[in-house]
């Protein structure tokens, strides 16, 4: 994991909100494309938030720092998308899941195995890759190069 101890804490000044900051989506996805999954950690209550944002919803605190997350975790819940958004029609059916990382942070993503092979508690690993053509088709202009994250069984 990258050491982010020298990374600025959550932006409290207007000029700190930049596309380079991991507390903005461009900064978050740039890091993810480089293989680094980032969360904001609340120094007041310990909550981990993906993607990073300038305030903690759990306690209201604004004293957060960025932290690289482990890519491994387990499936908390899952299902199968059978009627997808039109742009992803050729990809369906596909499996989606909520995953709790080993750090306790949670996020939703697609799973690379069929629904019948997934289960609650299944160990998975997050991978990030460049978007495919259909995913680029549904992307907004500024999202075109943002990576797609998925979970694969460990």
């Amino acid at each position: 994991m990258t050491d982010h101890t020298d990374t600025p804490t959550a932006p409290l000044a207007r000029d700190d909100v930049t596309a380079d900051s991991p507390f903005t989506l461009p900064g978050f996805f740039t890091a993810l494309a480089d293989g680094d999954l980032l969360a904001a950690v609340c120094e007041d209550c310990g909550k981990r938030l993906i993607p990073p944002r300038p305030a903690c919803y759990a306690c209201g605190g604004r004293n957060l720092h960025v932290e690289s997350q482990p890519k491994t975790g387990t499936v908390v819940s899952y299902t199968e998308v059978r009627t997808p958004p039109p742009a992803l029609a050729d990809r369906a059916p596909y499996t989606v899941a909520i995953v709790e990382l080993d750090s306790g942070a949670r996020l939703t993503g697609r799973v690379t195995v069929p629904y019948a092979e997934a289960s609650i508690e299944m160990p998975v690993r997050l991978v990030a890759r460049a978007p495919d053509d259909d995913e680029r088709e549904m992307a907004l202009s500024y999202e075109a190069d943002w990576p797609i994250h998925e979970f694969e069984p460990v």
Partner: protein, 390 residues
């Protein structure tokens, strides 16, 4: 607590189903019903709030301005309220707050959605805008799959089964069969529900509310203005309102308890001075059958983890259940779910129950207190609850 008691002066709904009419036409019909026994809108309405989910169906925003004009109003405050499927009860909340404060005497809350305009693909796309763009939308989740993530965990953590969820659909279809306002005025059975195709397991087609065109209108007014409608005098008032938000992303929430809905209902109860056991009828937001189970718990009608018993006869339910009748209209599942109009359609059902004007087959005898819970986004991303009392 309140300066002016807000009364429900008049209600109307129209065309829950598929229709060639446009959103503004549906609104016109709902308004025609609501104002049939009273003065014209221009004579009493001081402001207009419109619940509307998405501009993508009709490529139309500015619904406040448009619909004010379509009912003969101009130069009144009029605006669209957005909160996905909670937009209707949010519009109602604004109307209630305006009248309570004494700022306005009569405010029209209405909801309109022309969902069939873009087919299933159009509705799937439009609804997906309610999810967090960064991680959820880009992962290709859909409304059924988001709710299925909750339902899957609920079935995992409780004793509920897919058959229990199917019973909820059957119960709500039976209620809708007695509701002339409903989209599906026909019964179904458990095997039909269980045999329907999975949309997003464990949810099947018959666990899902349909795509619906529809409109609903509720006039909230002071007692003095409300007395101008009908012949029996105003009898139903909004005793309490609660509203709140939860995380936009489902992953960060408690997956088996809709905390935001619990907060909204609790606040509405406190304002109205009632307990869950006082509630005779409740319209809960069963966009999917699993929602009714979870909302029964959040609203305090069922013990934690037992909301899935909502379709069982009261004697067969666990201890701790109230006697509340849930979704006598048929719910979103069978009355229909025109997104921005749903919260107001819920209010219309509670109003009919409390005024004794529901059709005999679904009328709850001596109903005096009713609740509606309207959710938006996925589950309790935003929730609004209203307590209506006689």
């Amino acid at each position: 607590m309140t300066d002016t008691q807000p009364y429900v002066a008049a209600v109307g709904t129209f065309a829950f189903g598929r229709t060639d009419l446009t959103g503004r036409d549906l609104f016109s019909a709902a308004v025609a019903e609501a104002f049939a026994d009273g003065p014209d809108p221009s004579a009493v309405v001081d402001a207009l709030y419109v619940g509307n989910q998405s501009e993508s169906y009709e490529h139309q925003i500015m619904h406040g301005t448009l619909l004010a004009e379509w009912c003969g109003l101009r130069h009144v405050p009029a605006e669209r309220v957005e909160g996905c499927a909670a937009a209707g009860a949010l519009a109602l909340r604004h109307a209630v707050e305006d009248v309570r404060s004494g700022r306005r005497d009569a405010v029209l809350a209405c909801g309109v959605e022309k969902m069939t305009a873009g087919g299933t693909a159009g509705a799937t796309n439009a609804l997906s805008a309610a999810f967090d763009r960064a991680l959820e939308q880009r992962s290709g989740v859909t409304a059924p799959s988001q709710y299925a993530l909750l339902a899957q965990r609920y079935l995992h953590d409780t004793e509920a089964t897919e058959r229990d969820l199917a019973r909820i659909a059957v119960k709500n279809h039976a209620n809708a069969a007695a509701n002339p306002r409903a989209q599906f005025q026909r019964e179904t059975d458990v095997e039909t529900v269980l045999d329907s195709d999975y949309v997003a397991p464990p949810l099947k087609l018959f666990d899902c509310a349909p795509v619906t065109d529809g409109a609903a209108a509720v006039l909230v007014a002071s007692e003095e203005v409300a007395a101008q409608f009908g012949t029996d005098g105003p009898s139903v008032r909004v005793g309490g309102v609660g509203a709140g938000a939860n995380n936009i992303g489902v992953a960060d929430r408690d997956l088996t308890f809709v905390e935001g809905a619990h907060e909204a209902a609790t606040t509405a109860y406190e304002e109205a001075g009632v307990e869950p056991s006082d509630v005779d009828v409740a319209e809960v937001h069963d966009a999917f059958t699993s929602c009714e189970a979870m909302l029964a718990e959040a609203a305090g009608f069922a013990p934690r983890g037992r909301g899935y018993e909502s379709a069982l006869p009261p004697a067969e339910r666990s201890d701790g259940w109230t006697d509340t009748h849930l979704s006598t209209s048929g719910g979103l599942k069978a009355r229909g779910h025109p997104i921005g109009a749903t919260g107001l359609a819920q209010a219309v059902e509670v109003y009919e129950q409390l005024t004794g004007t529901a059709t005999p087959a679904r009328q709850v005898e001596n109903a005096t207190t009713g609740l509606l819970i309207n959710e938006g986004g996925v589950a309790d991303a935003v929730t609004v609850a209203h307590v209506l009392t006689t």
